[in-house]
């Protein structure tokens, strides 16, 4: 009994930590690329939590639905990241800045 609980918990707690770290990064950085990285960290955390929920009834074994949804979620996050990065490079080449105009505080 203990073994499944600990595995489930480790994944869930790691995911929760990643979500917290990512949200902090998203809010505290102004550099656009870092914010997109932070978004991906949150995304990974959510996927870990989601995967962990697939084992919440150990008698039934691993639930395949979260795995299928995580793969879809990764594709969605990937396309959003691709669009964001292409916009960021375009923004940087047009304005010469890695941050949005109102966020005047630059990251080191």
């Amino acid at each position: 009994m203990m073994t499944w609980a600990s595995g489930w918990l480790i994944y869930g707690l790691t995911g929760a930590t990643l979500i917290g770290l990512g949200l902090f990064g998203f809010a505290s950085h102004t550099n656009l690329l870092r914010r997109i990285l932070a978004f991906n960290v949150v995304g990974s955390g959510i996927f870990l939590v989601f995967g962990a929920t697939g084992f919440r009834v150990p008698e039934l074994g691993a639930d395949a639905v979260p795995q299928a949804l995580i793969i879809t979620g990764i594709v969605v996050a990937l396309s959003a990241t691709a669009l964001a990065v292409s916009l960021i490079t375009r923004h940087a080449s047009l304005s010469g800045s890695a941050t949005l105009p109102d966020d005047d505080r630059e990251d080191r």
């Binding site: 978004f39 995304g43 639905v65 959003a80 964001a84 916009l87 923004h91 304005s95 105009p101």
Partner: protein, 494 residues
């Protein structure tokens, strides 16, 4: 045509059209128009079938929920599908003049058509999905195509506006996804029907619903998360602005309505309804005041969207309230939905008018439009008609919507909400009077400083504005249609 085919076609046809417009970019405009016609016909067919036999449901590939994907259309979804299909069709006709110039190929001319069709597919997907993860995928698709539309003209300000929009939208989708994951952990399903039957007001459910609502509010640009909307909507090319401002925020609002009215009305209490209503009221006041001080026409129209979206959230407190008021709450719900629809028609008409004024006057500086009604009486008329609907003057759709909301506010003794609805109308009169006065006044110097615009091009905004007015005159059918499959909570209160 069986209704299951129509349900598949409203998503499948625009997706197919999307691939065709990329492969066969020379005929993209024609393909896009034909596709949006197919979608509109399918939506009308669904409306007929829904009003005859009640809500329709189909399982894709014969796989039932919870494993398979179910698509379902009730009165609410078919009304939204018809209005968005009509808007996309008219905007597409307008965009032929803007983007199709034989012999030359521009980036915006190439990218607009596929983006428009993806947007339509994603919207329809949201309107018929019954599954929280499906909804997530659809509104991500919607967001990505909407963000790409903002960047079409490639200017630095547009890229900046698009990036800010994308950051807000990404945060919104992540909050929503986290909420959906918690729901799955709780129920082992993401199907709305399954979850709706076993809601038990546990802490995890409240947290999940709160996260999802916050994420959806970010995407709907509810005050105070509205900052990204005006620059993004005013920076896009006018046909894109028309769709962004009229349809895209409605999609996330639609999910919010489904979440609270269809799935977990038990969880909604005074704290939620007052918070959403309060933010909506603040949006009405703040958006209207900002619209009053803007000096560019597109910014006036964009801030007006911030204000008008506020009304949509006043539905929540109106549908709540004490038990004596509850016979009226279906009025509040129906009024809110009619407001979303008539605002969509009026706002898309306004952005198309603004686009024509910009082409004619080469600027959307309000003062530079002085006397433009003499050159373009039809467009000025369309703008004024759209303004009438936004103000909520009879006989427009906006009037019926505000009337229903006001009646339910008075009946439930929600004086503060009635005050906000009325104040919003007065403020809208202030910010819309100024552009109308400038358009109709005499030009400063004689002569024609404005470029003439072809009549056919000017028809597009007029059709949409007339649609907004017609929604009021012929409100019987839409009203009856909206009642089919109306959630029980719309009547009994949240």
């Amino acid at each position: 045509m069986p209704s299951s085919l129509a349900l598949t076609a409203i998503i499948g046809a625009p997706l197919l059209g999307f691939f065709m417009t990329i492969v066969w970019s020379r005929a993209a405009a024609v393909v896009a128009s034909l596709t949006s016609m197919v979608v509109l016909v399918a939506a009308v067919f669904l409306a007929v079938s829904v009003s005859a036999h009640g809500a329709v449901l189909t399982s894709l590939g014969g796989w039932d929920a919870p494993l398979g994907i179910e698509l379902a259309a009730d009165g609410l979804s078919v009304m939204f599908m018809i209005v968005s299909g009509a808007i996309v069709l008219v905007v597409g006709a307008y965009a032929q003049h803007e983007f199709v110039h034989p012999g030359t190929e521009t980036r915006s001319g190439f990218a607009f058509w596929p983006l428009m069709l993806v947007l339509l597919a994603a919207l329809n997907g949201i309107f018929v999905s019954r599954d929280f993860f499906n909804l997530y995928v659809c509104f991500e698709l919607l967001t990505l195509s909407a963000v790409a539309m903002v960047t079409l003209n490639g200017k630095t300000e547009s890229i900046t506006a698009a990036l800010r929009y994308l950051l807000f939208a990404l945060l919104g989708s992540i909050l929503y996804l986290l909420g959906a994951v918690l729901l799955y952990a709780q129920f082992g399903s993401l199907d709305m029907g399954v979850i709706g039957q076993s809601v038990s007001s546990s802490g995890a459910e409240i947290l999940a619903a709160g996260l999802m609502t916050a994420g959806l509010a970010l995407k709907t640009a509810l005050f105070p998360f509205h900052g990204w909307l005006p620059p993004a909507h005013s920076g896009a090319p006018p046909p894109a602005s028309a769709m962004l401002s009229s349809l895209v925020p409605k999609a996330s609002y639609f999910i919010t309505i489904r979440l609270w009215f269809d799935v977990m009305p038990e969880l909604a209490g005074n704290p939620l309804t007052l918070a959403l209503g309060g933010l909506g009221g603040a949006a009405i006041l703040y958006g209207s005041l900002q619209a009053i001080v803007q000096t560019r026409l597109k910014m006036v129209v964009a801030y007006s969207t911030v204000a008008q979206l506020g009304y949509l959230f006043i539905v929540f407190p109106l549908a709540g309230g004490d038990s004596a008021a509850q016979p009226w709450s279906a009025g509040a719900w129906t009024g809110g939905m009619l407001h979303a629809l008539s605002h969509a028609l009026a706002k898309s008409a306004m952005f198309l008018c603004a686009g024509l004024f910009i082409i004619s006057a080469r600027t959307d500086d309000l003062e530079a439009l002085r006397g433009i009604a003499q050159t373009m009486p039809m467009t000025a008329f369309a703008f004024t008609l759209a303004a009438i609907s936004l103000l909520g003057l009879p006989p427009s759709g906006g009037f019926i919507a505000k009337y229903l909301m006001l009646t339910s506010a008075f009946a439930s003794g929600g004086w503060i909400w009635a005050f906000l609805i009325l104040a919003g109308g007065l403020l809208a009169a202030l910010y819309l009077y100024r552009p109308v006065r400038i358009m109709l006044s005499l030009p400063k110097q004689p002569g024609q400083p404005f470029k003439p615009i072809s009549r056919w091009w000017q028809v597009a905004p007029l059709v949409l504005a007339l649609g907004a007015v017609f929604l009021g005159i012929g409100s019987n059918e839409p009203y009856a249609l909206l009642q089919i499959g109306r959630p029980v909570a719309a009547e009994t209160g949240l």
